[in-house]
Subunit: 294 residues, 2 copies
DNA sequence: GTCTGTTTGTGCAGTTACGCACAGAGAAAG
DNA sequence: CTTTCTCTGTGCGTAACTGCACAAACAGAC
């Protein structure tokens, strides 16, 4: 039962009773319809229609095909409208993967997105490994560092996060506060786990301090944050996050060279969809209300 | 949602995850698969798959299509086996149309047919008008008289019914029995309603007797029979039917010129089916057990 | 009866779609 | 890092399919 098009032609013939009518509905020549029927009957080794001068009358097999194909056409029509509507309306699952450090900024945007589009189910994936937009693992990704250059991904700049060097009040009370990087000797620092971290401020830090000065390492940005609050050492923090916590003391003010650019990355196949576009535009819009960052 | 073949192609791609695999299953070149997907996505204005070097990953729309097309394929497969089996097994409705006079011979054959093939539902149509084998009104027809010459119908001779002229004993006791057609004057006859009856014995009768001698006319052969038994007049009867009734007196013995040939007529589109063949062969076989007729 | 409209059926010409070959890109293995 | 394999993607020639035109047959109207 290969060649579904022939089934479709046979269905129209069975429905309308004439080859000519079916040809008109299908938008093909009636000769094509005849050939389709002939081929299908030959393959099934059964007559589907009785031919006469007034048209084609379906046999029992033809009537059977009629009912089956009728539901098929309905199913396909529903599928079509569902798919077409799917691209235009914002609904269904929506998967975002992002770097760990920006969840505090991202979640309010997601809340607003959910509020605007009640029919979406949100999934935020922040994990060690980089989720691939290929393979359909996520609809959009928030990436940090150098601009991603993966093919088939459309990359848009989102914002530059200003990073400063901060410590908890308790740390400053215990160890003092270095006025510049020349006074870093003897101080304790917090950094990322991976040596080859792409964050510019971590590369800067690696040049300025000895490895044994970094007393706390973690892959998880939330852990850096917590370690900082516990007074374990001096560490980088987004300026907006430090400003929200009065217990944190600014060691060194943010510098442009420490800025971490954020990127919105979407797969080219999904970038045109209304759902993705709705989220991206909302995200860009929300970013403008973050004056502490830009 | 036209072009069901493209849906089928997309279904296989969604199922297998790769263009190459789908191409192999479908028995086409992988370039064709790519073109089908491209065309379908363009028509739906939605991406069904995310393309990457390892294959095609279905999007939500693609997964939706997958489930719909999966049931479609199952439905078509069942339809196919049903239709193919339909041609080989004897089951379903079986419609016979026949001239009215032979039901007494036909019904036993139908009973045997039903006994052999429990899965058939028999319908015997004996009506004024001639049912057309075109339009699917019947599977086989038993026709009488001159050989039908309708196109697209396969005509086979079945048997020649011997007709004689009979009357009920009560009629003979009241009016006597003519020894030959020369003594028909004053006798009463039973004939068909239609003037242009194709039965040869009625044409013969029309030449021998005056119109007002025909005192009973009916379109229904069973009515002739009954009228004969009631002693209304002299009428033609199949020899076998008269022989079964001892109250009937033979007026004139059957003559070859009165023979009414019966024909088995089937539509060419249905003639090859096993169901029709089974019935036709059974009918021919049964006919040999009617020695009174031939 | 003739005429008209509709339908099926077929040979021929054009066009679309297919198969083929090759290129390019990742991913996995050594 | 290099090699190898698999899979996708595209230009080109061919083959299959489609559209066209015409013929034939039939039903209905007049």
């Amino acid at each position: 039962m290969e060649n579904w098009d022939e089934i479709r032609t046979a269905y129209q013939v069975a429905r309308l009773g004439t080859v000519s009518g079916a040809a008109e509905v299908l938008g093909v020549h009636h000769a094509t319809v005849i050939r389709h029927i002939d081929a299908l009957e030959k393959r099934l080794a059964t007559r589907l229609f009785q031919r006469h001068a007034r048209g084609y009358t379906p046999t029992e097999a033809g009537r059977d095909l009629l009912t089956v194909a009728q539901t098929t056409e309905e199913q396909f029509a529903q599928l079509s409208s569902r798919i077409k509507g799917h691209g235009e309306t914002v609904q269904g699952e929506f998967i975002i993967t992002s770097v760990g450090g920006v969840t505090g900024l991202l979640v309010p945007v997601l809340a607003e997105f959910q509020h605007r589009h009640q029919a979406v189910q949100l999934r935020l994936m922040t994990d060690m490994r980089i989720f691939r937009l290929d393979y359909g693992e996520a609809h959009v990704a928030i990436r940090a560092g150098a601009a991603p250059e993966e093919p088939d991904n459309v990359v848009q700049p989102l914002i530059r996060i200003r990073y400063g060097l901060y410590a908890h009040r308790s740390y400053v009370e215990a160890h003092g506060s270095p006025a510049s990087e020349q006074e870093f000797a003897g101080h304790r620092f917090i950094a990322a786990e991976t040596e080859g971290s792409r964050a510019p401020f971590f590369r800067w830090l690696r040049d300025k301090v000895a490895p044994d000065q970094i007393v706390f390492r973690s892959t998880e940005p939330a852990a850096w944050n917590e370690a900082l609050r516990q007074g374990i050492g001096i560490g980088f923090l987004p300026a907006w996050e430090a400003a929200a916590n009065s217990d944190l003391v600014e060691i060194l003010a943010p510098r442009p060279e420490w800025d971490s650019p954020l990127w919105i990355v979407t797969h080219v196949d999904l970038h045109r969809t209304r759902k993705v576009q709705a989220f991206v535009s909302l995200l860009k819009e929300s970013v403008r209300t973050w004056p502490q960052c830009a």
